[in-house]
């Protein structure tokens, strides 16, 4: 398989996952803000911080309100990770690798892209937002389902899996980190009340709420939510599961050595926490380190399979 084709598959999956994650995140935040006690200081702007968009946002907007934040996350074309920018990248990558994807993929992505663009106002205005974002998530799942049902489990498939789970693991740690930071910043007297709301929304943002309930069979706390999202072996968005999928996909590919080593290191580092008191600065530092590891995993994938330079062959 040509490196270029592999790289396009990898990025198709990453951007598709990013579209879905962005839609989920905005949707859950919407819900979260309704439920918070009025005296809690939490704002939409946290979403910008989660997505590493601080610089780009501030260049473009002065006011950090809901409208600007949602606009930046969903439609802004100066934000290369906005929902519409990501969708465009999915479409571009699919367009140029149609011969290795199921024929219907192109139609589905066009449908989704058209819907997202034509109805973007519904996403930005609060009244229709939920339905809009739901349709986007469904559109993504349709494509993922098509892949699952029809694609050969060959090298191309492995690159889709690599892209999807790397993006997902990245988002997973960002969301946990954001919640942790929020809790650290909160005043002691509101921490308990806030914790209940925040951690259940974090689980919901990852579609993990029901799974958590079934698996953990106990009340929601920061420590348990975080442990579940990091270490659950069966929940398909947990750190453990995502890195495991990356490892499996890589091991089916040629010359996977270095990528496997990094994935193994990440797996060994993945651990839960005993008590909510451990949700402190050290934990923040730990998440930061995991993020850096994920970034270097991406670079290794790129260097190992996509990029070659003069001197690599002769």
């Amino acid at each position: 398989m040509l490196s270029r084709v592999a790289e396009r598959l990898y990025w198709s999956a990453r951007y598709l996952e990013r579209v879905e994650n962005t839609a989920r995140l905005v949707s859950v935040y919407d819900d979260l803000l309704f439920d918070l006690p009025p005296n809690v200081a939490i704002s939409w702007y946290n979403l910008i911080e989660i997505n590493s968009g601080v610089e780009a946002f501030n260049q473009r907007y002065k006011i950090r309100d809901e409208h600007n934040v949602v606009k930046f996350l969903l439609s802004d074309d100066t934000n290369s990770s906005s929902l519409l920018s990501s969708l465009k990248m999915v479409r571009e990558n699919i367009r140029t690798s149609r011969d290795v994807m199921p024929g219907e993929t192109w139609e589905l992505i066009n449908e989704l892209d058209m819907y997202a663009r034509e109805n973007i106002k519904r996403g930005i205005n609060r009244s229709d937002r939920h339905a809009y974002l739901n349709t986007i998530v469904e559109g993504c799942q349709k494509i993922i389902g098509l892949f699952a049902a029809t694609m050969d489990r060959d090298a191309g498939w492995s690159f889709l899996i690599l892209g999807r789970y790397l993006e997902r693991a990245d988002m997973n740690t960002r969301i946990i980190d954001a919640a942790n930071t929020l809790m650290l910043q909160s005043r002691a007297e509101e921490a308990i009340e806030l914790g209940q709301v925040v951690w259940s929304k974090v689980l919901k943002s990852q579609s993990a709420y029901l799974s958590f309930r079934r698996t953990m069979r106990t009340s929601i706390s920061g420590a348990r939510a975080v442990t579940f999202l990091l270490t659950d072996p069966n929940f398909p968005r947990s750190q453990q599961y995502c890195i495991g999928e990356i490892k499996n996909a890589a091991s089916a590919l040629p010359r996977a050595g270095i990528v496997l080593v990094t994935a193994d290191n990440l797996l060994n580092k993945t651990q839960g926490i005993e008590h909510s008191s451990m949700l402190n600065e050290d934990f923040s530092e730990y998440l930061n380190q995991v993020q850096l590891d994920i970034i270097s995993l991406h670079h290794q994938i790129t260097e190992n399979w996509f990029n070659f330079k003069q001197g690599d062959a002769a």
Binding site: M1, S3, P254, R255, N307, Q310, D312, A313
Partner: protein, 484 residues
């Protein structure tokens, strides 16, 4: 009798299927008998089925442009054009002879230039050719062959005799349509393939593969062959993808390849760099290597010329091969055949006036209203003057162009292209002009396609068959007739 073919009026030109007296020509007999047996409604049903098949095949290969169009937009006519196998045998021999001489000529130009020394072709014609590449001098491609894939345009005059209109030695396209047209016709007129002796065309892609494989500089069982495309925005991308797929080789873009310090070409794959032996390039000479030609080209591969000159990779067609499809050089091809092969040309040229020659130029300037004037190095029917369809103003413009740069223009009599019955509207056949582009493959051995791509001018009376200018296409049948 009131039948489809009885109502057909062949007109004053040579008709491929029906003589002026209204009789079916021998290779068309079965076809016409069958068409007459079909009720109008049935024929219409077949036509619609063909359209649907074109769509379907188009969808499976083509790329949507930003606007959502597919690039397989040109019309297909379901009535095949038939040629007698005995005629074709002679024509095919003529095509082989012609390409053999052309390759000898190109090889000579980049080595000793004996043809100039011996006075066969004037030196200034080569010196001023836009397609002569000094970078190719002294290079010796395998078998002395430079043009491995050639598309030659043939026309028939009013007598039914084949003439060569032009040779395309750079990156000729259209062969995928030849193959696709046959596939469609088999689906919509299957009954005819049972009874008639229609020679198959399907071996093209395996012949192409063999032709390319024979060029491999490494002596290996499985040479690495790739098709190099400018990418999805190129109008022939469909064909590039189709040929790569049918040959089972990778379709690559320039950025997929690199030349390393050993002057070998490598392809970037997930298995690591893989050495490439043969590149069927569908990118024009001037874009293949930014180190040597257009510096800003991003389509090519830096160092490719170096690798080719070192003999580490084969390029098909070789760079510089286009020097022989210059329309001025064309006029000398019959002489070149005599010179290199010591044989009489089997296929004739269309009478050509060289504006570079004083006597010819005077004649051309005096007869601009009757002649077709063509620039020497354009393709696709651009920049032409069709005398009988031109205004006085057009003619004045061309007179000036010719005087300014005589080397760049040739003129030919307006051709009386042959016609063939074409389905126009429901249940009605009308004559439409057409040409024929067979494809010739040459490396260790030489192959000619069985027939080729027939292009039709779908507009009544029009002589322009180019797909970019309202042409269509139809299937071409080489038919074995039984001794009668």
């Amino acid at each position: 009798m009131d039948t489809l073919t009885a109502n057909y009026q062949a007109g004053i030109f040579y008709d491929e299927l029906i003589s002026q007296e209204g009789n079916a020509r021998a290779p068309a007999k079965q076809l016409l008998k069958y068409l007459d047996s079909l009720p109008t409604e049935e024929l219409e049903k077949r036509r619609i089925a063909a359209e649907a098949t074109v769509q379907e095949m188009g969808v499976s290969f083509t790329v949507y442009t930003e606007e959502g169009n597919i690039d397989r937009a040109w019309p297909f006519d379901i009535i095949p054009r038939t040629i007698d196998a005995k005629d074709w045998e002679v024509t095919a021999a003529g095509l082989k002879q012609r390409l053999t001489a052309l390759n000898r000529f190109i090889d000579d130009l980049y080595h000793d230039q004996n043809c100039i020394k011996d006075g066969i072709i004037p030196e200034h014609i080569i010196k001023h050719s836009k397609n002569f590449r000094p970078e190719c001098v002294g290079v010796s491609p395998a078998y002395g062959v430079w043009a491995h894939i050639c598309g030659t345009d043939l026309v028939r005059d009013e007598e039914g005799k084949f003439f060569v209109l032009e040779d395309n030695l750079r990156v000729p396209s259209g062969v995928s349509y030849m193959l696709e047209n046959r596939a469609i016709t088999k689906r919509v007129l299957p009954e005819l393939f049972e009874n008639d002796d229609i020679l198959p065309v399907g071996s093209y892609t395996s012949d192409l593969f063999d032709t390319l494989a024979a060029l491999s500089p490494r002596d290996t069982e499985q040479p690495e062959i790739v098709v190099l495309t400018p990418g999805i925005y190129n109008s022939a991308y469909f064909e590039h993808a189709f040929l790569a797929q049918q040959m089972g080789v990778e379709l690559v873009e320039g950025s997929d390849l690199f030349v390393d310090s050993d002057d070998c070409v490598y392809m970037k794959t997930i298995y690591g760099p893989e050495r490439v032996d043969v590149i069927y390039r569908r990118i024009d000479d001037l874009f293949i290597d930014p180190e040597v030609f257009h510096k800003d080209s991003v389509l090519g591969v830096p160092g490719l010329m170096r690798a080719w000159q070192a003999g580490n990779v084969a390029l098909a067609n070789a760079p510089g091969a286009g020097v022989a499809d210059d329309k001025v050089v064309y006029a000398y091809v019959p002489d070149l055949i005599r010179y290199y092969l010591d044989e009489e040309p089997i296929l004739a040229n269309v009478k050509t006036y060289l504006c570079d020659d004083e006597k010819d130029r005077e004649y051309v300037l005096a007869n601009l209203d009757k002649l077709v004037v063509k620039p020497a190095n354009e393709s696709g029917g651009y920049g032409m003057l069709v005398g009988p369809h031109s205004t006085k103003k057009d003619q004045q413009l061309f007179a000036q162009l010719i005087k300014d740069n005589p080397r760049n223009y040739i003129a030919q009599p307006t051709l009386k292209l042959s016609t063939s019955p074409t389905l126009i509207g429901k249940g009605s056949l009308e004559p439409r002009h057409l040409d024929l582009r067979p494809f010739i493959l040459q490396s260790k051995t030489t192959h000619v396609t069985t027939g080729g791509l027939t292009r039709v001018a779908m507009k009544k009376g029009s002589l322009v068959v180019n797909s970019s200018q309202g042409g269509g296409s139809k299937d071409t049948w080489i038919v074995e007739t039984k001794g009668d």
